[in-house]
Every structure is written in C-alpha cells, then in structure tokens.
Chain length 317, copies 2
DNA sequence: GCAAGCCACAACGATCGGTTGGGCACACAT
DNA sequence: ATGTGTGCCCAACCGATCGTTGTGGCTTGC
C-alpha cells in the first residue's frame, strides 16, 4: 500500500523503491500483486514512469486513508509516547460523550477511550500510577487515600434528567423539580455498595426525601429500557449528556430536573508528574462546557466554589 | 487485523478461527505476531478465552477503522458494482467542492472523485460511455454530438468572483459590477482554444466589453497566485466556490461580482441507461444549493428556464 | 480426580516476498 | 538512422512467513 501511494505521488517506481529502501523490482512486484488481487489496473506504464489510471485515482485516497489509519493505530499503543488514553465509566457515559465531542472538533489528536472493567476507583488509581492509562474519570471521595503522585481535579458537572416510560404519571411533564419526584419510585440498578455513586444517591434521597432504589444488579441497558417502557411507576435518573441509543419503539422520555438542578460532579485523576501532554487541552475543554446554574444541588464532597479557574497544578511544571 | 477484531468481539480465538475458516492455532499465531510487532500485549489469556487489555481496547477501534478502510478501498474499484465515481475538472474546482460538501454530510456513501487528465469533453463522453466513470462535470455545447446513450443535464451554476492582489486598484472594493471591470486586464490562463471555457469568456468579453486574456499556458496555481500578488494591474476570475488554499502571505482578495452576477453553468453527463444508483442523490443535492439571482448573466447555451424541476429522465426507468 | 475446553509451542510443507540478472520499449541526442 | 540511457517487466533463486497437524499445559466444572 505504501509502495502504491509513493509510486503514485512520485510517478516512478524507481523513486518509490529508493525511498522505501527496496529494489525497483520489489515495488513493481508489489504493485503487480496488488493489481492482481484487486483485479484492476492501477497504473498505466509509460516510458518515463507510471501514471494513475482512473481506478488508481479512485483507489489512492482510500490507500492514504488506510495508511494513516495504520499509523494512528500504532501510535495509539506505542510504548513510551503513545496516544492519550483516558478511562471512562462506560462508552455511553457523559464523560465519553464529552470526550467524543472534543475529538470531533479536534480530529487530529490521537485520543483513545478505554474502560476499566472493574468498578473500583482504587484500580483506576493504580492504573494511572502504573501508566497504563493517562487519566481516568473516577472520583476518590476520600482524598487521603490518593497517592502522592496522583492528583484529582474537578472535571465538570453532569446534570441529571429523569427517564420514564410513556405510561408513567410524570411522562408528559416538560420539566420537574426534585419535590415532584417524591413518592415516585426511582430505580438505579448496578450501583456498587459504598461506592461514590451509592453515596451520591444516598445524599440525594436524604436531602429531597426521595425513594431511590439503588440496589440490585444491572442486567444491561436493554433490560432497563424495557422495564421503564413497560412500567407505569418506575423511573430512573441518567446524566443529561449520557448517550443512549434508545430504540424509538421504547418511546422513553427524558425530563430535565430544575430548581434546583441535580448534578453529579465528575472528577479526573491523572499523574501529578509528567502527565500526558495532550491532557491539558482536554481539561481546558471542560471549561467551555455550559456551566451549571448557581443554585444547582451537588453532593457534600463537591467543593462549592467549583469554578476555581483552569489553572491546575500540572500546568506549571 | 480481522482475526484480532473478531477475537476481541467473540472473546475466544477458537470462535474467531471458526468464522475465519482457519485453525485456532493460526489465529493464535496471528495475534502473537501482531503483539510482537507492536511490542505490546493485546489480550489477557484466561481459561475461558481471551480478554482485551487496555492496549487492546485502545487498539480495537483503530483496527476496525483500518478494516472498514480496506473494505471501502476494495468497493471503490471493484469491477462491476463499484463506488460512485465522478470526474471533475480539478480537485479545487467548484464541482469538487460541492461533491466534497455532499460527501461530508453523507459520509456513508462510497464516492470517488477523479480527474481525467485530458481537457477534452469527448474523452469524458467516451469514458462515461465505456463505464470507466459514472458521471462527469463536462459540458458538451453542441448537443448533437452527444451519443444517444449519454445524457447531459444542468447541474448548477457557478458564480464568478474577481481575484486580485493587494496592489490592484480594485483590491478594496467590496463588490463589483461587470462594467467596473472594463479596461482592467483579466488574465485567465490555461483555456484551451475552442473549448466551452474559451467560448464562455468570449461571450463574456463581448457582452460587457471586457479585456479578457484567455491565451497562454497555465503554469499552475502557484504561478498564478504569485503573479496576481505582485501585479498592480492583473486580475483573474474564479468560481465563488472554488477551493484554493491561498497562503496567507499572498494576501489576495476575492471580490463578488453583482448586477448582474456572472455565472458559469455546470453540466453533468452520465449514462442514459442504468446510471449508478448513487447518482440520484447527488443530483438532488444540486437543488439544495443556493440558486442564482434571476438577473444573473449566463452564456447563450444555458437554457434560461434553469429550474426545470428535479425530475430528470433517469429517475423514471 | 477427571474430562472438557481453550490457548501455546513445535515441526513441517507451501507460499510469499525479497534480491540479482537479464531483456524489452521508449525518449532523446547525436 | 542509430546509440544510449532510463524505466519497467520477467525469470530464477532463496530465506522468511503462514498455514497445517500434533501435542502439552492450564483452568473450570462435574
């Protein structure tokens, strides 16, 4: 493929061969086999070199695309200086959506989003410490347990919306306030006991006197969606930015919660020394997200003066 | 690569091997060599299969990307049913820009833009007839010369703008009318004699009494840009949609021409029978482009009632 | 404790991909 | 017209690679 592209660019197999460090015959054979496998003629051979056929012209951008894809794949995992790798809770989470948005507006950065399969912040901290990942959207509520060489900053706040099926009594509301959720059963499956999410929902239930059922295993999004769609009295809370490919036949409703807005504060942990150079831009990007209203509710561990400015420790090293 | 992706998706080398029609050992060896070449571990081997490492997770989307790239490259040139291939005058022309815009909003279609290296409409007609290309943005001014099985439709009109250097007397104008161009030298290099472009500029010069110098070879965009940048009395005409990567230091100005707008009518030729199925959408897209003002000037061969509706012959077959 | 399932290692043959050497076609200069 | 240089293709050869079969180690579940 590289031989083809270079030959097309240079117009001569000989030059391409010189650049690639092989003989001209090797390049000739490579292109011949490529043409044979594709069953199409890519070049017209002239006395002064080669020239692309129409098929070759059509093929060239695809070949370039493949080559850059290969190069990106290699840089993504090259030991040492590799692509920026960030751990998110799930590929549909608000964290992943924000990263995806950032990547779409900056497609030139090599960003990889991975998911640690374990739901334990300590594992994420260890992975950051070991350098397996460059950053992780995990919250360590007890900062004392954070190792000296790992730092945690506030990333952004994820406002919550209520998700209900069409038969739910709140289904037709345009917005809701937390008191209106009282006495309605809110089911949030898959919350590990004593995790920060459990703590979050605990505080939320206490502060607004809600019925939040955070017990029970999570059988997957499909089950959750079907349960909500069929039920007239079960609702759940999700992040406003969470990306769910709801099949339209489920006909679920996302209802914003206001006065106050409920939000989950997302943190980012990364190495204190020599963080990945691309991380800086990501963190700056958080500042451009639409901020919460001043009246928003946050759990107790969220430091209230949230907008402390973008100047974080790793920026002055 | 495909082995890696399938193994990652299925979680077992054995299943991937079955799907790919090879032995389990072959898949194992493929992945082992991939890991060796990348110098990274992609899977953790467990007793019940394989599981992606963090590196493997980061690599997976890139691998998928490469595979789809390869598949697209193949479909682009597959003899028989291949990607939609359209010939444009140049990759910076308005035609190419419009196609590129269309492709960006419909990235799923397999579209290839090629350029016939000869500036002769008859070659384009022959290429369409032979099936080497599916369509071409060429104009055959004498419809009698068009073969029976090739049809030509009006695609869209490309309004012209004046391009001048900073020292040109018209450089600071915001808009210009054709009479204001009188007595200024307009240099349009690279126009083949008796081509439709020569005819176009001929009519333009006659109708508005302009000094259009369409002689002389075209030494490339760089030369043209430098000439314009240095000169205080040479200007040129380009399409408003033409894409030129002007280096900023040239400081050239694009000045719209109004009252009347000058426009070049672009045509599309394609087979009358069994045109490429993807062509329909492209032609429909032309209708969504911003139309010319009613007062616009067009050459004599442009049929004045231009908006004849999108219903073209090949749509009812 | 044993069978089942899965992956890795080893040996072997076919194929592939590179090199060297030679030849043909064309462009250009004499 | 003829020689010369350039650029590509074909042929022969050889090492590396890729697939197969056969085997063994390991975990899991009955």
């Amino acid at each position: 493929m590289r031989s083809f592209v270079r030959a097309a660019e240079l117009g001569q197999l000989q030059h391409a061969a010189d650049e690639l460090g092989v003989t001209q015959q090797a390049v000739s054979k490579r292109i011949a086999t490529l043409e044979r496998k594709l069953d199409v003629r890519l070049f017209t051979r002239t006395a002064r070199g080669v020239e692309l056929t129409l098929d070759g012209q059509a093929f060239l951008p695809h070949a370039r695309n493949i080559i850059t894809g290969v190069d990106r794949a290699i840089t993504a995992i090259r030991p040492g200086s590799r692509a920026l790798r960030i751990d998110v809770l799930g590929l549909r989470s608000a964290q992943a959506v924000v990263l995806h948005d950032y990547w779409r507006s900056h497609p030139e950065i090599d960003l990889d989003v991975v998911t640690l399969r374990v739901n334990d912040p300590r594992v994420a901290v260890a992975a950051v410490e070991a350098g397996d990942i460059d950053a992780s959207f995990r919250t360590v509520t007890d900062r004392a347990t954070l190792p000296r060489d790992v730092q945690m900053i506030h990333a952004f706040d994820s406002p919550l919306v209520l998700l209900v099926g069409p038969r739910h009594p709140l289904a037709s509301a345009r917005t809701l306030t937390p008191p209106q959720l009282r006495r309605h059963r809110i089911w949030v499956p898959g919350i590990a006991p004593r995790s920060e999410w459990a703590e979050f929902y605990d505080q939320l239930a206490t502060d607004f006197d809600l019925r939040i059922d955070a017990a029970g295993p999570n059988f997957g999004d499909e089950v959750l969606q079907e349960t909500l769609a069929d039920s007239a009295d079960v609702a759940t809370l999700i992040g406003a930015r969470d990306r769910y490919i709801w099949p339209t036949n489920y006909d679920l409703r996302r209802i914003p919660i206001v006065n106050p807005t409920l939000a989950y504060p997302l943190s980012l942990i990364f190495p204190r020394t020599n963080p990945h150079p691309g991380l800086r831009a990501i963190i700056n990007h958080f500042g451009s997200l639409t901020p919460l209203p001043e009246t928003a509710w946050l759990p107790s561990w969220a430091t209230k003066p949230r907008r402390s400015g973008g100047d974080i420790e790793h920026t002055r090293r």
